[in-house]
């Protein structure tokens, strides 16, 4: 009996190839969406981490020579032997036929954390690196070095631009600097009872670690990408649900017949579950592989290899990890289970004698739509409650879920409303018929349109979030890394000469004056700024009053960081006591992502009055010829290479790596819209056969099949349009919740949100195109329906 029943169940798919294709590909696409987003997320993370790592050299404190640019290697040994955990660095330039290349020598055995080249993990063995000599460089530098050095050169795309990394010993050979070093990196953890630096060597100065703040920004971005991973999961579940419901609807008749012939209900349901699990596994496997291929095709600089599918580690390839396989298969099976639970429940409770006539793929008749609308209203209320009263990250995600599900459930009601509204405006009989007929179609297309709604909302959300993040990140870099070079004087005595030299040779010189203090009870850094074009052009404020910089320059106002302002309960216009006896109004508040210290900025002159002993030893420099100025500083002033930090290069490289993320956004858009379009196509194809009896009267009354086909196409586009219009505010809301609620809960600060109407318009066009493409084939089929089929409608009712 089991086998006989199973052959009957399976014969349905053999006879209805299109439905089978819809089922498997619907499931596979949902899984592909999920696993593709996972792969893309992972790649985006890697890109960000690489960007953060290049900013990261400042994360360690350093010991620099007080004068000159060389440290005796014996000093390094003396420091180590007295307990100082320092790691040597030697820098210098070598000439090649195509110009000079900067060589950076490191000791991998003592270097802390992220300093060593990334590619070293796969590219070579330590034995090679230490004893035979290997250089790591980006492709262009590697080419440049090809004939200049005898050592092996390994191309490492993650290497900093213009630099070749190698072992310290090799660097000493190449630079002809035996026994000397440029600077020492200080490990973050130092042993107890370490003697004072001055007691070991008077020739070195300590430069404390600087916090670039990029880590905090990227943490936030990772969280948001995870949230969108979950969103894609939701879109996937919707599509799976639609596909499964359809598959069950179509077999109601067969189920009834089988039961009437004596197949027990339990056995029947068991077999259907087994069948679904089998399909889910097949489709899941296809989906995971597909997602991997899609991700690989869409991502730049990533090669997909067959080994990658099995998670083998091959340098520079995208890896499909076991987690992706598992989570992909899980989404297929769990999604199928979730979707099938309802359908199976219906089958189990379907009276044996009920009509075997397949219903439309309906979720919402008028009454149902109103009921769903009520549930949606309830969900929105819960969401609003959470937003006003709620605290905590988990609730943030509940809020997201409420919004998404609520919006999806509201969709049928909104669609009916929109169509009714249009109906009232309709003048001709044809249009009245069109709108009435469209209203009839809403229930049948609801699930597909819900998928489109979520997909479009996800796209709007992703675009908004990523672009807002990009703008913030670029602003942040512009603000913090505006000067092309940062230069440290060897000591206070050298400062006036260095400053004079810089003023003669650079466009703008920004002395860095700061003091650690307490402002309004908050531990803070107070900065003295030389107000000039850099500040005026690059600083973006959270809140500001007119003529910020003029007032600061006149010593009449201060700029404070968001953290300081929020913690001290101050805002623009309030007075802040920046020092004992000096209270200034706040002219502007500036974002300072997650810095635990507060910041206040006043004019250089005011600062000097307050702290006359402070002499700037560090300078930001604006110049159009950073490389030229660097050489002059090294050759004419005698500064060490380490005393000059090339911010422009760091910034350019960070931005370049960052751009990869935008490919990711594009990839997400393509992927989700493709899936939504597929859902629409499948629901229209299914509806098509049911449409014939509904369209036959209109045909009989004189509308051509061609016209009917065009109207079908128009109908799909109209419904998609209403859906997309609803999706834009939903997507914006989504982005807003992530940036302003989830981010605050997770990190304690808001990420500013920017709106990009151009993107949304383009997205709408894409969504409509996707819907039109999906509707095209069913409409063509309808237009070509033979008149005999239409006539049959009148010959008998089935």
């Amino acid at each position: 009996m089991t086998w006989t029943t199973l052959t009957a169940l399976l014969s349905h798919w053999r006879r209805n190839g299109l439905q089978f294709f819809a089922l498997i590909s619907g499931l596979a696409l949902a899984t592909a969406l999920w696993s593709g987003v996972q792969a893309i997320n992972a790649e985006a993370r890697a890109s960000y981490d690489a960007a953060a790592a290049t900013l990261g050299e400042g994360q360690f404190g350093q010991l620099l020579p007080r004068t000159g640019n060389r440290i005796d290697q014996a000093t390094y040994i003396a420091l180590r032997r007295s307990g100082w955990q320092v790691s040597p660095v030697l820098e210098g330039r070598i000439d090649t036929t195509q110009g000079r290349v900067r060589i950076v020598g490191l000791d991998p055995l003592t270097a802390p954390g992220n300093v060593a080249p990334v590619g070293m993990q796969e590219g070579t063995s330590l034995d090679d690196f230490l004893t035979r000599g290997v250089l790591f460089a980006a492709t262009d530098v590697a080419d440049q070095l090809e004939n200049a050095v005898s050592q092996r050169i390994v191309t490492d795309p993650s290497a900093a631009p213009g630099v070749a990394l190698t072992d310290i010993g090799v660097a000493q050979d190449l630079l002809d600097a035996q026994g000397t070093l440029s600077r020492l990196i200080l490990a973050p953890e130092q042993p107890m009872g370490r003697p004072d630096l001055a007691g070991i060597t008077p020739d070195l100065v300590l430069q404390p670690a600087q916090d670039a703040g990029a880590d905090r920004l990227t943490d936030s971005f990772h969280l948001n990408l995870t949230a969108f991973g979950l969103l894609s999961f939701a879109v996937g579940i919707f599509i799976v649900h639609g596909t499964i419901s359809l598959a069950f609807e179509q077999r109601r008749g067969m189920v009834r017949t089988l039961r009437a012939l004596g197949v027990p209900l339990g056995r029947l349901i068991g077999l259907m579950i087994a069948e679904l699990v089998l399909f889910a596994l097949i489709a899941g496997a296809i989906g995971v592989a597909l997602g991997y291929v899609i991700a690989a095709v869409l991502l730049p600089n990533v090669a997909a290899t067959l080994q990658g599918l099995y998670g083998a580690s091959v340098a520079g390839t995208l890896q499909l990890r076991a987690e992706w396989w598992l989570s992909g298969m899980a989404i297929a099976v769990v999604g199928t289970g979730l979707a099938a639970a309802g359908a199976l429940w219906k089958i189990a409770h379907m009276p044996l004698l009920s009509s075997a006539r397949p219903r439309a793929w309906a979720v919402a008749s008028g009454a149902t739509a109103r009921r769903l609308g009520a549930v949606a209203g309830l969900l929105f209320l819960v969401g609003v409650g959470i937003e006003i009263r709620g605290k905590g990250l988990a609730l943030g995600f509940v809020l997201l879920a409420c919004m998404l599900i609520g919006a999806a459930l509201l969709l049928p009601l909104v669609l009916r409303g929109a169509v009714t509204l249009a109906d009232r405006q309709a003048r001709s009989v044809v249009w009245q018929w069109f709108w009435a007929d469209t209203r009839q179609q809403v229930p049948g297309m609801s699930l597909a349109l819900m998928a489109l709604l979520l997909a479009t909302a996800a796209n709007v959300g992703v675009t908004t979030m990523v672009s807002s993040f990009r703008v913030t990140f670029v602003d942040f870099l512009d603000q913090r890394l505006a000067p092309e070079l940062f230069i440290s004087a060897e000591d206070a005595a050298q400062s006036p000469d260095l400053e004079a030299f810089l003023i003669d040779n650079a466009r703008e010189v920004l002395p860095l004056l700061s003091v650690e203090t307490e402002i309004a009870g908050v531990p803070s850094d107070l900065f003295g700024a030389r107000v000039g074009p850099t500040y005026r052009n690059n600083w973006v404020f959270v809140a500001e009053t007119p003529e910020v910089w003029d007032r600061v320059a006149r010593g009449e106002a201060a700029v404070v960081s968001e953290q300081l302002a929020r913690r001290a309960g101050l805002w623009t216009g309030d007075a802040v006591a920046v020092a004992p006896g000096l209270s200034l109004p706040i002219a502007a508040v500036v974002a300072d992502y997650g810095n635990p210290l507060g910041q206040a900025l006043i004019d250089e002159a005011v600062f000097s009055d307050l702290y006359p002993d402070r002499v700037p030893t560090r300078f930001g420099v604006r110049t159009d010829d950073a490389a030229g100025l660097r050489e002059k500083l090294v050759e004419r002033v005698g500064l060490s290479d380490a005393a000059i930090i090339d911010q422009a290069r760091i910034k350019a490289f960070s931005l370049e790596v960052f751009e990869r993320t935008f490919t990711v956004t594009g990839a997400l858009n393509v992927l989700t819209l493709a899936v939504a379009a597929f859902a629409i196509l499948m629901s229209l194809l299914t509806l098509a056969s049911l449409r014939v009896p509904q369209l036959a009267p209109a045909w009989a009354l004189g509308m051509t099949r061609r016209r009917l086909g065009r109207l079908e196409l128009l109908r799909a586009v109209v419904l998609a349009f209403v859906t997309t219009v609803l999706a834009i505010p939903l997507g914006l809301l989504l982005a807003w919740v992530l940036l302003s609620y989830v981010n605050v809960e997770a990190f304690g600060w808001k990420l500013p949100m920017y709106v990009f109407p151009g993107h949304y318009a383009l997205l709408t066009v894409f969504a409509l195109l996707a819907a039109a493409l999906a509707a095209l084939w069913p409409a063509l089929r309808l237009a070509r329906t033979p008149p005999s089929d239409l006539l049959k409608v009148f010959a008998n009712d089935r």
Binding site: I77, D107, P108, L130, D167, I168, P191
Partner: protein, 346 residues
């Protein structure tokens, strides 16, 4: 993290052939191999043997504070050669790394140092004797009279050691066989140190006294391919007798054991495979794995039937190549204390 990966590559010089703990089972291409009937030459043999792949100066001490509180101290310097030679400067293929630990019944603090030979950051000289890496030192005029120091982020110690008996040689006069296939090392010890000194704990300094045991061992392939790790015991009984015994774990629950019985006057009896047995009694979850921390140890030839228990079951050495090492107490036919080292528990 990268350093850690790199270090793994140091310790696993032949990754393709690597088996067993820390790659010690790999072939000895170009490296010297221990031979029986070696004539030790001191003080030269207290110094490094760069033509052998791996070597260590391994000190463990059981100490007590003024209130009787038990402490364990470890100071180990390892030499791992990428090639059987030395060179001046940074290109020296001799890599040095060291582990220091301070154990109480409740805490186990660990520090690690890594350095390259050839530049003076780490090494061993024999006359006067000094083994050092960074600020960590084991130095004396000679091996009989040592001062030992190490510092970590939250602990430090400074100990003074006086040997009261001559050196002790394991196996056949210092040729210690590690497997039925003949893998072997040179192995001698100084188990008779009286110790006094100061421990610096997070709470402050503590004066301590006690005893210490120094192991000197070098080889190029001390483990067979089939051996996955070892359990090593150095026990000092209240009677003044001492026992060194180890168990090398082979496939399918087979073991290769070896032991040295050390009489109070320093005379030794070597026991070959099977005479000494050690059986785990209880395991403890540490660093995500089960490690046996209570043992039944027997040497029937000397009437030894004791239970060995870890003073602190969490004495996990979370270093680049992690293992378990900590002080133990001994009960049963003999009372006493000692040290236990367990490697290869993945």
């Amino acid at each position: 993290m990268i350093v850690r990966i790199l270090l793994l590559m140091v310790v696993l010089p032949c990754q393709a052939a690597a088996q067993g703990f820390a790659g010690l089972g790999s072939d000895a291409e170009g490296f010297a191999v221990p031979q029986p009937d070696y004539a030790f030459d001191f003080p030269q043999d207290h110094g490094p043997h760069p033509d052998f792949r791996i070597e260590w100066w391994y000190l463990t001490a059981n100490l007590n504070g003024p209130d009787g509180t038990a402490y364990g101290v470890q100071w180990t310097l390892f030499r791992s050669a990428l090639a059987p030679e030395t060179r001046e400067g940074w290109s020296d293929p001799q890599i040095w790394f060291a582990h220091a630990a301070l154990t109480t019944s409740r805490r186990h603090m660990v520090a690690e140092r890594i350095a390259r030979g050839g530049i003076g950051q780490a090494g061993v000289t024999v006359d006067p004797f000094e083994a050092w890496i960074d600020d960590w030192r084991m130095a004396g005029p000679g091996l009989d009279d040592l001062s030992v120091t190490a510092t970590g982020t939250e602990f430090a110690y400074d100990l003074s050691l006086q040997a009261t008996r001559p050196l002790v040689f394991h196996g056949q006069n210092g040729f210690s066989v590690k497997s039925a296939q003949g893998q072997a090392s040179y192995y001698y010890s100084q188990p008779f140190y009286d110790v006094s000194g100061t421990l610096t704990l997070p709470q402050g300094p503590v004066e301590v006294t006690g005893s210490a045991w120094l192991d000197r061992e070098w080889s190029s392939q001390p483990l067979a391919d089939t051996q996955s790790g070892w359990d090593w015991f150095s026990l000092s009984f209240d009677s003044g007798e001492k026992l060194m015994g180890f168990r090398l774990r082979e496939e399918k629950d087979a073991f290769y054991t070896s032991a040295t019985w050390i009489a109070p006057d320093g005379t030794t009896t070597a026991y070959s495979d099977g005479a000494f047995t050690a059986r785990p009694l209880n395991s403890h979850m540490v660093a995500g794995r089960q490690v046996p921390v209570d043992w039944a140890v027997k040497l029937p030839a000397k009437g030894v039937d004791v239970t060995v228990k870890a003073l602190n079951p969490d004495a996990w050495m979370s270093v680049s190549v992690p293992y378990w090492e900590g002080p133990v107490t001994v009960d049963g036919s003999h009372g006493g204390r000692g040290y236990l080292e367990m490697t290869g528990y993945e």
